[in-house]
């Protein structure tokens, strides 16, 4: 064996190994390493886009994104200089250690700016800009900052912002949402987030092995989000919220033909600005743990027994199904006996013989017990469903609840129990398992007043320059003859002597309505729903006061105030 040949073969073998290994690394694995070399050198620095503003129907600015001046440092240029940080602390009125800690805690990379203090105000920002030559690495960053001009007013409509959550990010990543994005967490801020949110821009930076900035590779300017114009009239909204101060409840005022919501109040409420300021975490925690549940939008997500405001539905079912003639009467002797149990009317003396109109006017329980039994639970259920109970109205807020419209089938499956006649009695006066939201009640009222069309309430009139369509409406199929009878009853509730809702009267306005006193644990809930003018309705209302006592008193009075204000500002 020739030793030179052996050496030659061994060396050739080693070189063959080199060729194969290089081919594997550079050609087979090329994509992987290209990606790794990219992540090595390219960093993205997102720039927040400015969120769209929100205006009311008259163009009043409700929510804006004003310019905020944040004092930030760029670690790469700052190099943790004690002099610079001390001077910065002095300007900001902070302790130097505090500034040090903040920079250290929030440090991410040499080129990623660290906010020392957000929203420092124009004066301090100017001082920092002027001293920029002696404050290397300190800059004033201009960022948009959400501002809720009316404070707590309209907070349940507007909602609030927060940092994007993990689940939301997973769902929305494909739509361009990124980590640490601010996103609408409730209300219109949430529902219209993809319109409101500015398109975030960003800078693509090339960095070296220490993460130091080398050069700008690309830049995409941030873009404004689209403005919203609401159907809300902020004057009326503010008036209602002031009138409801200290109370718990909800009030919705709506155009009965289009579903444009003029006002939607829920009390108690909150200041959306608390969610903007990073330093207000205490207040945020307090809000969320408040037993009064100020974060709950009672107008659309509060579930309550309907009480007597449900009676028009029962009347409609009975009349449509011809279980009672318009002139037909039923007698109230003050109580109704079923299976050995006595069910009382609210008036112990009884209302005597009454037509449907009178039954509504008097809100007579005994009349509706009999009418309900004559009609049957199935038909009451059918007509309640036609008037929209048991399903969300489709208002443009995500928080809306569907309510609960009980039926025989529902009771069997949910309660494992048969439907009893007593259930029908409760159902007939809007009690029992029935749960409704105030917005469902005002939609029913609108449908009664507008010729039987169930409209979709909505809060947004325009997105940018584009008019938002009215939404879906649907015919309840209830005849105008039936509607006329019910409306006459509701007119008399307010206008006739002895009507339960006389306190809703307003000088110079013709108003129809229905009161409700819904039994609940403790003090009853008070309801009033109505519309005006009677012949050509332009406004429908619901007032709900949690544990507010009798519907004919505070709720009706509040409705009267709202009608009067609506007239004053020209909505009526």
């Amino acid at each position: 064996m020739n030793p030179i040949k052996v050496i030659s073969a061994l060396l050739s073998f080693l070189f063959a190994v080199l060729v194969i290994s290089l081919a594997y690394t550079q050609i087979v694995k090329n994509k992987k390493y290209v990606k790794l070399s990219m992540t090595n050198r390219i960093r993205l620095l997102p720039v927040e886009g400015t969120r769209g503003r929100i205006f009311d129907r008259n163009g009043a600015l409700l929510v804006s994104s004003r310019t905020s001046f944040d004092a930030v440092v760029i670690p790469q240029e700052l190099k943790m200089s004690v002099n610079t940080l001390s001077r910065l602390a002095q300007i900001l009125g902070l302790a130097p250690e505090e500034v040090f800690k903040k920079v250290e805690k929030n440090y991410k990379a040499p080129f990623v700016p660290v906010a020392v203090r957000e929203d420092v105000g124009k004066e301090k920002a100017l001082v920092i800009e002027e001293e920029s030559t002696v404050l290397p690495g300190v800059i004033i960053r201009v960022t948009p900052r959400r501002e809720y001009k009316y404070g707590e007013a309209g907070s349940h409509i507007l909602g609030y912002l927060g940092e994007i959550g993990e689940g939301e990010l997973d769902r929305l990543r494909d739509y361009g949402y990124q980590l640490r994005d601010r996103i609408g967490k409730a209300g219109l801020e949430k529902n219209y987030d993809n319109y409101l949110r500015g398109e975030g821009g960003g800078m693509q930076l090339e960095v070296d092995n220490r993460g130091n900035f080398i050069k700008l590779l690309g830049k995409k300017d941030a873009r404004y989000g689209r403005d919203l114009m609401l159907t809300i009239d902020m004057r009326l909204q503010e008036f209602i919220e002031a009138a409801m101060a200290g109370k718990t409840g909800a009030c919705v005022v709506m155009e009965p033909y289009t579903g444009e919501v003029f006002a939607l109040a829920s009390k108690p409420d909150f200041d959306p600005g608390i969610f903007i300021d990073k330093e207000k975490s205490r207040e945020r925690a307090d809000l969320l743990s408040d037993p009064g549940r100020p974060m709950l939008n009672r107008a659309i997500a509060g579930l309550y027994p309907a009480g007597s405001v449900f009676k028009p539905v029962v009347a409609a079912a009975a009349l449509e199904k011809k279980r009672i003639m318009p002139q037909g009467t039923l007698f109230c002797g003050g109580s109704y006996v079923l299976g050995g149990n006595s069910f009382d009317c609210w008036d112990e003396d009884g209302h005597g013989a009454q037509t449907v109109v009178e039954g509504i006017k008097n809100s007579c329980n005994v009349f509706f017990y009999q009418l309900g039994r004559m009609t049957g639970a199935d038909d009451i259920y059918n007509y309640a469903a036609r008037f929209g109970y048991g399903s969300p109205t489709g208002i443009d807020l995500r928080e809306e609840a569907a309510g609960l419209l009980p039926s025989k089938a529902w009771k069997r499956s949910a309660k494992k129990e048969a439907w009893f006649e007593g259930d029908t009695l409760n159902f007939s006066i809007g009690q029992g398992n029935l749960l409704v939201t105030p917005i469902q009640v005002v939609r029913m009222t609108a449908a009664l007043s507008n010729g039987g069309i169930l409209i979709q309430p909505h809060l947004v009139k325009k997105i940018g320059d584009i008019e938002v369509s009215k939404g879906k409406s649907r015919d309840t199929g209830v005849s105008s003859r039936t509607l006329d009878i019910i409306k006459e009853g509701m007119r008399m509730v307010v206008e006739a002597p002895g009507g339960t809702g006389q306190r809703a009267r307003v000088e110079g306005l013709r108003i129809a309505g229905k009161t409700g006193t819904a039994q609940s644990a403790g003090v009853s809930h008070a309801w009033f729903t109505g519309y005006s003018p009677i012949d050509n309705p332009r406004l429908a209302i619901v007032v709900f006061l949690e544990h507010g006592g009798k519907g004919g008193i505070d709720a009706a009075e509040l409705a009267a105030k709202v009608f009067a204000e609506a007239k004053r500002i020209g909505l009526l």
């Binding site: 030179i4 050496i7 060396l11 690394t25 550079q26 050609i27 090329n30 090595n40 070296d208």
Partner: protein
């Protein structure tokens, strides 16, 4: 001596690789965040100029005479290794350098060539003995002093390269292949014992070789970044001065031991193949010279030199792509540094010398 017998192709290949090396060095020191205070090119050119004078000097003296002085060089080399342990400069935890007139000299580099000359001198006389397994004891004992002194610096890579060189020369001298294979097996089996003699940083390097991700920002960093650089080069590379790993300073030691990463990133697989091909051609030219040489001393010197160059190229490139542990061996003719360049040029000079004088016998 016959000047017509000078292998000009081999010499041309050497120049070609050196010029490619200059381009790489320029790129490696081009980035704006350079850590090197001076431009490396003039210094490397100075080394080359002096190196060429040495090469010519080596050519002019009959290699026989050089081999005859093998033990003298051997003694001188050991003395230098001894001195550097006492007076040398430490860099990266290893004591390898002398500084003379602003230039760093690395005795362990020269000792490789000295070792070859000395071993040729011994084996040329001792061919009868080494057929016996006992006869292999003397060559092993002669290898031990430089091996241990270099290891003590510590310079694991240079020390270890003596082993294949010794084996190749033994093979050419007529040692039994089965004896040599036996030694290799014994070495492999006993390697866990040597583990204990390694310095902490050497152990770490070996562990990191097995899994670079155990310490991605420390010991594994170099390997990972080097692999990224070479792998991201693709087929045609990112272009000269355009390698992001190189220019943005992600590659440490990229002007010395890891200069191949720069080539792989900027010139791609294509450039790497050209370079590997050029090295292979040098080896092929060398093998032709040895095959034509009848003189045993010439054959021994040639085999030692080719093994040294071939193994060094292989180990250097292998460690940049994570195929072998990082042991700190320069890429001949390309890595920055005078000692390595001169050693390679002396080696090439000796090879040419053998080629020119082979017809005498």
């Amino acid at each position: 001596m016959d000047i017509k017998e000078l292998d000009k192709t081999l010499l041309a290949l050497v120049f070609l690789i050196f010029i490619i090396g200059l381009f790489c060095l320029y790129s490696a020191s081009y980035s704006r965040n350079v850590e090197f205070g001076v431009n490396l090119i003039p210094k490397q050119l100075t080394w080359m100029a002096i190196g060429l004078v040495i090469l010519v000097a080596v050519l002019l003296i009959d290699y026989q005479k050089i081999v005859d002085m093998g033990y003298f060089f051997y003694g001188l080399g050991l003395f230098a290794l001894f001195l550097v342990l006492i007076f040398g400069h430490a860099t990266l935890g290893a004591q390898r350098w002398f500084t003379i007139a602003g230039f760093n000299l690395q005795p362990s580099e020269f000792n490789k060539i000295v070792f070859i000359i000395m071993m040729a001198s011994y084996l040329g006389h001792a061919r009868a003995e080494i057929v016996n397994i006992k006869g292999l004891l003397v060559p092993l004992l002669l290898t031990a002093p430089p091996f241990i002194l270099i290891l003590a610096q510590p310079d694991l890579g240079t020390a270890l390269i003596l082993v294949p060189v010794l084996f190749a020369m033994l093979l050419v001298a007529g040692a039994r292949p089965k004896h040599l294979i036996g030694f290799v097996l014994i070495g492999l089996i006993s390697s866990p014992i040597f583990w204990n003699f390694l310095k902490a940083y050497q152990k770490k390097r070996l562990l990191v070789f097995l899994n670079p991700d155990i310490d991605p920002l420390g010991a594994g960093y170099t390997i990972i970044q080097s692999k990224i650089a070479i792998g991201s080069g693709g087929f045609f590379g990112k272009g000269w001065l355009a390698g992001t790993q190189n220019q943005l300073n992600f590659l440490p030691e990229r002007h010395t031991d890891f200069i191949f990463s720069v080539i792989g990133e900027e010139w791609g697989f294509f450039g790497a193949m050209v370079l590997v091909g050029l090295y292979f051609l040098i080896l092929k030219r060398g093998l032709i010279i040895i095959e034509r040489t009848t003189d045993i001393y010439g054959r021994l010197v040639g085999a030692g030199i080719l093994t040294m160059l071939g193994i060094q190229v292989f180990v250097n490139i292998s460690m940049t792509i994570g195929l072998m542990p990082v042991v700190g061996l320069p890429l001949p003719l390309i890595s920055y540094g005078g000692s390595s360049l001169w050693t390679t040029l002396i080696a090439v000079g000796l090879l040419l010398n053998v080629g020119m004088r082979r017809t005498r016998f």
